[in-house]
Subunit: 326 residues, 2 copies
């Protein structure tokens, strides 16, 4: 039942996204917007807007513009992040700056951001200030998270706390923010809206930790991306940082040599690092950390003043996210 | 009196901009924002917000947040445009992407755009939808103008109408939009606000044509930039397009050879092109075009239902802009 409900929300979002058209001209500005939105995705953020809105009694038409707004905003951040990360592919297709060029990626992203604000503003007047406050605050935080992520590529002294704070900003606040916007639109009281926000933020952190885990220990047939990609690119994930934190002198030397001496093939590097991760029990330690945030999410969900029935979809969504294989 | 009044608005804007502080961290994200705002400038757009607001009886405190918002927005567009144009200098200082790097220029610009929206939203609830509608519409148009400007670098068949439409979008609508936002905040009626918008848009087009003219015929001691820069970079300005439109076969051949055969030094190229511009009376033709938009601006100013006394500052501002030498 729950999965089909989430699917129904997704279908509604996808069909409304198809109706969301942009001008034809200048085509260099607008084609990349249609393109990136057509690449699909889980549409998790707009679904969260609609789920929150429904939890507090709103009809889906009441929140669809804001649901689309967060999806357009999310795709704007992907367009700009892909330029910054020099990523050639997104969801198996060329990124905008590869298919067109960087200038087009910058400027299409900018106009997409305006379109997100325009959609966000399309709500009842009395909701507008609160909705915009959450949206702008979240947008600033997402930028801060992206900046920290870039900084950490070259910083050596990144702590696990730093890392969690980075993924909170870069990923988790937008899940929380989507839920809060949906809650506001449906007249939730401030405390309930805040608890649902914190549910989303904690699920977001757990979600990202699960992503880190899948990258190394995922099933290559199901994962969809190259397993070990984070290891190959020396990404300072939770697994990386925890391994260095717990490594003895011998393991530390080995990890340093695998990551920084560049004498192994990609496959050998992934295998050797994975061996050390196994010696250090990193998979279980990451799951423990994930569960900590999952439990926090459930704690906040618990406190919301709606029926258990209305909360079930949020429990199931969290469980789906924690057990997904791609 | 009027100049001193505009100066007083400028001082107010500058002092409020100094109070506008950004977070300290991540410093890579926020330092470029303080930096670009500290480079100065005429502050024309926020002054227009305040002038419009005062014309319709508003106090300056009533519109200062929106005045700052348009200035922050304008500087965001400069930050991103400078990346796209690969410009090394801005107001005699290094551009953000040169002083830091392109990624920082992209992301600082993005967060600046959010900060502009946050400032814009800080007004009375009943004004919010109208203010945001003008702002978002203007922001989209400015992006469209920048895209057209980039397109025209490589397109051969650019007409004078295309060019005017490009500068309308890239430059003029933000002057009009600033005036309209100031008008809305001061409860101007829709017709007056629209006429002031059209005053601003037409002054903006005249302003850009004057810029094109100064670039070629400005006094090198007063202009501040290299005279002839547009000729050196083959920029398709009004002067360039008008010269090709009016050239006879002989002049056309010469213009093509100066612009596209690259056999002259910069100084020789500027001098030769200037000779043809003089043969074709381009300076006067450009002034005629400027005056056409100046007259349109005055026509719309005329129609506004406020006293002649309250309009005087707009007449004087237009005259200042038309006769400035830098």
């Amino acid at each position: 039942v729950v999965a089909s409900k989430i699917n129904a929300f997704k279908e509604y979002v996808d069909s409304e996204l198809e109706k969301f058209t942009v001008p034809n001209s200048p085509k260099e500005l607008y084609e990349p917007i249609s393109y990136i939105l057509s690449l699909g995705g889980k549409r998790m953020r707009p679904i969260l807007v609609l789920m929150a809105n429904e939890m507090f009694g709103g009809s889906k038409e009441n929140a669809i513009n804001q649901a689309l707004a967060v999806e357009v905003f999310h795709n704007f951040t992907l367009m700009h992040d892909d330029i910054m990360d020099k990523a050639p592919y997104r969801r198996g297709n060329e990124t905008v700056h590869k298919k067109w060029n960087e200038n087009i990626g910058i400027l299409s992203g900018d106009v997409m951001f305006v379109l997100a604000y325009k959609l966000m503003c399309d709500c009842k007047l009395e909701k507008l200030p609160q909705v915009l406050e959450v949206f702008s605050k979240t947008a600033v935080e997402v930028c801060e998270g992206q900046q920290l992520d870039m900084n950490y590529e070259t910083e050596n002294a990144v702590s696990i706390n730093d890392y969690i704070e980075m993924i909170r900003l870069k990923t988790a606040v937008l899940l929380g923010g989507s839920l809060k916007i949906g809650s506001i639109l449906a007249d939730a009281n401030a405390e309930d809206a805040e608890n649902l926000y914190l549910y989303g933020q904690n699920i977001g952190i757990a979600f990202q930790l699960h992503d880190d885990l899948l990258d190394v220990f995922g099933d290559p047939d199901k994962f969809g991306k190259q397993v070990g990609g984070d290891i190959i690119s020396n990404k300072k994930t939770f697994l990386f940082l925890k391994a260095f934190e717990n490594a003895n002198a011998h393991q530390n030397t080995k990890l340093n040599s695998y990551f920084y001496q560049n004498h192994l093939s990609d496959t050998e590097k992934v295998n050797q690092v994975k061996n050390i991760y196994n010696e250090l029990n990193i998979q279980e330690l990451t799951k423990n950390e994930m569960n900590k945030y999952y439990d926090l999410a459930m704690h906040h969900l618990d406190k919301i003043n709606v029926s258990a029935e209305r909360k079930q979809i949020f429990i199931d969504l969290a469980n789906n996210l924690m057990h997904r294989e791609s």
